[in-house]
């Protein structure tokens, strides 16, 4: 079999599973009504039940009650609501102190910065070389003014998994709300709200072969949070707007389709990418933690070459991956994650993120590594640095 195109940017978006689409279709063509109030017409009442069923299944996947899960348009909205909603509910009542990590994804990072401009005090926890926060440092920073701690379950770029159990426990002891962005761990790494003291969880369908434009926020019962978008009374009056019922149904189906076997298979491919690259290509550095990382992520810096040059060459082979190089970003800023783990611009410059999904296979893994070896070798030949890397 000849390999045509290889897509390994599944942290950015995933191919929709046909079974997900099948589940969604009736919501577009058979019963396309919005969920009405309990006094509505038949189709509206049925839509209401369909939505309730999707909600129940999604909540159950986190060990939660249906009333604790609301639908949003995706991770960005979920994290905005978590941070700004809690700030709105507790800012005047309890305090204006928030703690996040310095390597959070932009929805959390930029929501925190927006709140700072409104007078909130934000502490940005530094991380170690693997991307892990120091829980002792967190404990020291918690005060009676602290209203929220937001630490991601895993990192979007380097895949490092935080110890959210310890973080949650520390927050619970101090009666501080704890939000975690689980966009890249949901269904891939176990997360049960009955076992882990977390109050708010951001999840999304787009990373697990579900539809784009649908996400969710778990909100533990009794959590003080205010709505931030005005409109109707949907989603327990926390998120206004007509519900995306096809999206919700597709999201629930996408969760059903992830299995332990699949996660084991992703982990095998991830380990193979890392193993082969470390063995075949000199002057490389693994970014993130060797063990505490999500099964679908490998992130490696190829020294002496630049990331956009690599991705452009890969693109000519039909291979899609992403890089933390400043030249690749919209803001021309090097990855704040690579810089956050003590990397310098040089480490970010040549960093490549491979993220696996359901439709990748081992043949593609071998192919991508061979292609990388060729491209990196050739780019090193024209680089003023690292001559010995050429092939």
């Amino acid at each position: 079999m000849t390999i045509k195109a290889v897509y390994m940017d599944n942290a950015a978006a995933t191919r929709l599973d046909e079974e997900v689409l099948e589940a969604m279709m009736p919501c577009y063509f058979e019963n396309y009504a919005v969920a009405t109030s309990e006094f509505g017409y038949s189709q509206g009442l049925e839509a209401r039940e369909i939505l309730a069923d999707a909600r129940t299944r999604l909540a159950a996947s986190l060990g939660a009650e249906p009333g604790e899960f609301i639908f949003t348009s995706g991770s960005t909205e979920s994290s905005n609501l978590a941070l700004k909603g809690v700030a709105k509910a507790l800012g005047d009542k309890k305090g204006k102190h928030i703690i996040i990590s310095s390597i959070e994804d932009f929805p959390v990072l930029h929501s925190a910065r927006a709140l700072e401009k409104q007078g909130f005090n934000v502490d940005y926890l530094e991380v170690d070389e693997y991307g892990l926060i120091n829980t002792e440092q967190l404990a020291e920073l918690l005060t009676d003014q602290t209203i929220l701690v937001s630490i991601q379950h895993s990192n979007q770029e380097i895949g490092t998994i935080q110890d959210i159990e310890t973080i949650g426990r520390l927050c619970r002891e101090k009666k501080v709300l704890f939000h975690t962005d689980a966009t890249h761990t949901f269904t891939r790494v176990p997360l049960d709200v009955g076992k882990i003291p977390v109050d708010l969880i951001t999840v999304s369908a787009h990373t697990i072969h579900g539809p784009k434009g649908i996400g969710g926020l778990y909100i533990r019962k009794g959590t003080q949070i205010a709505k931030i978008m005005d409109g109707g009374y949907q989603e327990f009056d926390l998120r206004a707007g007509a519900e995306n019922i096809p999206g919700a149904v597709g999201f629930a189906r996408a969760v059903d389709l992830v299995s332990d076997e699949e996660n084991a298979r992703l982990k095998e491919m991830r380990d193979k990418i890392i193993e082969l690259i470390l063995a075949k290509i000199p002057h490389v550095t693994l970014n993130g933690h060797p063990e505490k990382r999500v099964p679908q992520n490998a992130n490696i810096t190829f020294h002496y070459v630049e990331g956009e040059s690599i991705t452009l060459h890969l693109d000519m082979y039909g291979i899609a991956v992403s890089t933390g190089s400043a030249c690749f970003s919209r803001s021309l800023e090097a990855s704040h994650v690579i810089m956050g783990i003590g990397g310098d611009h040089e480490r970010a410059h040549g960093s490549i993120r491979f993220t696996l999904g359901r439709y990748n296979n081992m043949e593609e893994v071998v192919h991508i590594v061979d292609t990388m070896a060729k491209i990196v070798g050739n780019l090193r030949l024209i680089s003023p640095l690292g001559k010995e890397g050429g092939v």
Binding site: C327, D344, H345, E346, H349, I382, P384
Partner: protein, 211 residues
Amino acid sequence: MAFPYNEIVLEHFRNPRNVGTIENPDGKATEGSPACGDMVSVYINVEPETKKITDVKFESYGCASNIATGSIITELSKGKTIDEAKKITWKEASEALGGLPPIKAHCSVLAIEGLRSAILNYEEKHGLVTSKEATTEEVVRKRLKRVMNPMKGLDMVATNLVKSVEVKDGVIRVVVDLPEDHQFAATIKEEAKERLENLWDIKEVNIDFVK
């Protein structure tokens, strides 16, 4: 598909011309620094009578536009006199490539600066700097603006690393606001020295660090 690069750029990116180094070149320079982002080295040989560039090579540690611009400037400058080559602008290089995305100006302008600096390096080495402007604190600071602070990705002047500058009797003394044993002290010292030691009226360059 709206691809950001046109075919000419992609062609130069895929098959860059005149890549490599020249042994004992008449002039050479490196712009940018590995710690901040893109970096490009340019090497030239110059015919002493006609002052024509007989050979030019480049190396790039950069993105596609950096590589493509490095490639095109070697083609544009070869055979030209150094005075003609000095006048090649980013706009001309970009036009020769059929246009570059404006957001990529900062990556590609490095190649132009590399060529100009290589020529300047040649001129300084051969006593050809015509405007014999006396080296002042201003001149030194201007040159230090080309030395990158690897921690910030910006130059050492903009990031307040230059504590003081003194020019006296052909001796420059720069004090860098970093401890001597700092991780980047050695790189910064070397780069700063390289920028200053060829000034026509300078005999000695001292880069010192704070205690």
